[in-house]
Amino acid sequence: MGEFRMPSLGADMDAGVLLEWLVRPGDHVARGDMVAVVDTAKAAVEVESFETGVVDRLFVEPGTRVPVGAPLALITPAEVSPPDVSPVTSPLVRHLAVDRHVDLAAVRGTGVGGRITHADVESAAAPSPPAPAPARPRASPLARRLAAELGVDLSTLTGSGPGGTIGAEEVRRAARATQPAAPEPAGRAEAMRATIAALMARSNREIPHYHLAETVDLGTALAWLRDANRQLPVPRRILPAALLLKAAARAAVAVPELNGFWTGGRFVPGDAVHLGVAISLRDGGLVAPAIHSADRRTLPELMAALRDLATRARAGRLRRAELSAPTITVSNLGEQGVESFHGVIYPPQVALVGFGRITRRPWAVEDLIGLRPLVTVSLAGDHRASDGATGARYLTTVAHLLQQPEEL
């Protein structure tokens, strides 16, 4: 009771290396707070506490390899925990707070009954105007955002850009430098490939896959997006990828048989649509963390979440909850240049959605032939959990949703 143990961060994980403690004895932690960084074969992952209380003792030194389930620290459950999150916060707002790194305990709710609203979190997250006195380090907006995401203190860096401006690369270098020694890149890339190989082999062995594909006209959607982007500043520009992800998420709500897990010989539906997004790492690895409740996010929120995930994935700063959560995954959004592909499902999920490259092709428009931007949407389904008819319904729902981008 009260022991914080090495969590299992993947189906094939039996041990992990504790890289870094994010808390010290005496610290108050609430359930859900990040307390440690653990290295699995695939990535450095931030792990949260399942207890609310006070950190009593840390059992394990950074750098130690520990089997899954072994105790790492003792957390004494506290009777009176520090200011608790208001019980009247919706899960969606809580996710937003996590994404924006906002401490809900410090936010005053302006909604009905003291409820913390979306807007409350957004304004808590918005950078405040620069204080007049202490010299604010000059940094590009990208560098600033990266620094916030990766936990780098800009005042410790010297910028080499014009006027001493700090650039994004300096921030990335600083973040890498402060990370405790992890297995060197070659070792990690090898380990990651081995893990992915094992997972894919298992998937092909155990899951009877069926494959479907559908070609979707994106003309309306992309024209709408172009218009929307013309009104937005460049940092808020929305990629077609965000539209595709939103459609994939909403379609999973309409066809829940594809959203969940095959465990214990039966299908267990997910409690929400946590959309896994396959992200390629620059060293050739692949991770697929989740965007929680993706169907309930607005397009700008989804875009911001996608950018945030990609940045943290590449910096090795993903969280345990993101890696274990996906209820359905969308694979490499046409970035590798092929138009369509037959994916391999990540067990224990039961479906994988793929979007190929958007290409301009001749297409029937009314009674004429025109050139339209087309994308091939593919679905790999677990035949134990669903059949082709269900899969077809999913794909036609995606196609339909993409014809009404303003509703997405």
């Binding site: 990208l142 994004a168 460049v234 940092p235 520009r237 990629l239 620059r282």
Partner: protein
């Protein structure tokens, strides 16, 4: 902006987005996205960075001029007149 400066700014931005890429091996006519393995997110971050550095908004309509190193340098040279 002189082409030399434009080239320098462009390379600086690319280096931030793709720090491990070998920019010296990049020919002027090579497709940037393919050569540097930039996905749509990377490219957007590149555009955002470049836009900020040259103090000029880059629209999606401008993207067709930005597929090669030569294209980007020409674009930057003509847009940033100081």
């Amino acid at each position: 902006m002189k082409p030399d400066d434009a080239d320098r700014v462009t390379r600086a931005c690319l280096r931030e987005i793709a720090p491990e890429a070998n920019l010296d091996a990049l020919t002027p006519e090579a497709d940037l996205r393919q050569a540097l393995r930039l996905d749509s997110l990377d490219f957007l971050q590149f555009v955002e960075l470049l836009s900020e550095r040259i103090h000029h908004r880059i629209d999606e309509d401008d993207y067709q001029e930005l597929s090669t190193m030569a294209g980007v340098v020409a674009f930057v040279s003509s847009r940033n007149e100081h």
